[in-house]
């Protein structure tokens, strides 16, 4: 017997994600799913952001990692709430992991929740974790052809942060090329060149965050 199904295979994940979106919408929390390769600087960007905007917003972080709580401890050092999810080898976060992590997070009065995904430009793109927006981070020590190699991630992102611009004189990274290909399938994608080490460029990223947060209030 042949049964037509025609159902999205990830609908179980999407259903939980939709439930999370309702919770976040009711509490006016801006939720960002932060994705990058390992080592691009997701945790550094969070440390800077949480420190610099501490007086403006109440922020928290859900940290996804294969192993260790090193990143959660770095984030907690800024004074922000941090909850660790260890995927124990899993290459991405799913909505049910985030739902589980929420049990250990006080979201009352929260303005912005960052979900730091597992460092990986492939798998996390497929899984909605209840975020408003995906934000992809790229760094100048990677190839400037990353957006060509991982088109789905950049297509789905609402903003791209380009980190480690203080190293530009020492690497062969073409910012124009990276931005061009990131925008090829996402023409309105804002690109924020920053250095988390020197603080250069972060002001524009913060302005984008403020605007995104204001739209959710």
């Amino acid at each position: 017997m042949k049964i037509p199904v025609v159902r999205n295979i990830l609908e179980a994940n999407d259903r939980v994600a939709a439930g999370l979106k309702e919770i976040f919408a009711a509490k006016h929390i801006l939720v960002l799913n932060l994705m990058s390769s390992p080592g691009a600087g997701k945790t550094s960007l969070l440390e800077k952001t949480l420190g610099d905007l501490r007086g403006e917003f109440k922020m928290a972080v859900i940290e996804g990692d294969l192993q260790t709580d090193n990143d959660a401890r770095r984030v907690a050092a800024t004074g922000a709430q941090a909850v660790q999810i260890n995927t124990e080898g899993g290459c991405h976060l799913s909505s049910s992991m985030v739902a589980e992590a929420l049990k250990n997070l006080d979201i009352e009065g929260l303005d912005i929740l960052f979900i730091e995904n597992v460092g990986n430009l492939v798998c996390p793109a497929e899984f909605d974790v209840g975020e408003d927006f995906k934000v992809t981070l790229l760094s100048t020590t990677e190839g400037d052809d990353k957006p060509e190699k991982y088109p789905l991630m950049f297509n789905l992102s609402k903003a791209m942060v380009l980190n480690k611009i203080d190293l530009l004189p020492h690497v062969d990274f073409d910012m124009e090329r990276a931005a061009k290909f990131a925008r090829a399938l996402n023409s309105d994608l804002p690109v924020f060149p920053v250095s988390c080490r020197t603080g250069e460029g972060l002001a524009a990223w913060y302005d984008w965050l403020r605007a995104a947060r204001a739209a959710k209030a």
């Binding site: 017997m1 295979i9 088109p151 090829a184 399938l185």
Partner: protein, 120 residues
């Protein structure tokens, strides 16, 4: 290896459909995946074999079909499916009509769904 999560979701859906129709033995599942999804067919097949072994779903055939990447030109609106030299769906290509290179919208290629199952 997110394919394992995908296979698990796939099997959950199949089991639900079979239960709803009072069927016990799965014969075939047909899955369509877009050329822009990060799906490795080999990994899906391996996950399918691994997760069905020793279950009532073991021995079923997993049929995979890639659906085309379709881009809509941001300038002239033409829909086209670029392919690279090796015949695989490409993603970055000038519009064949007007030559525009950037700003295309993705009109197809991100889908991932079960088309049908066969069971008895």
């Amino acid at each position: 290896m997110h394919e394992l999560s995908i296979v698990q979701s796939l099997l959950d859906l199949a089991a639900k459909e079979m239960a709803a129709n009072g069927l016990a033995k799965l014969l075939r599942i047909k899955v369509k995946y877009g050329g822009l999804t990060a799906i490795a067919p080999d990994a899906l097949e391996m996950g399918f074999t691994a997760l069905t072994a020793g279950t009532p779903l073991a021995g079923a055939v997993l049929e995979l079909e890639e659906t085309p990447v379709i881009l809509r030109c941001g300038k002239c609106g033409l829909e086209f499916s670029p392919k690279d030299a090796s015949g695989r769906y490409g993603v970055f290509a000038p519009c064949p009509a007007c030559g525009e290179e950037i700003g295309h919208a993705v009109a197809g290629g991100k889908e991932l769904f079960i088309e049908y199952i066969e069971a008895e």
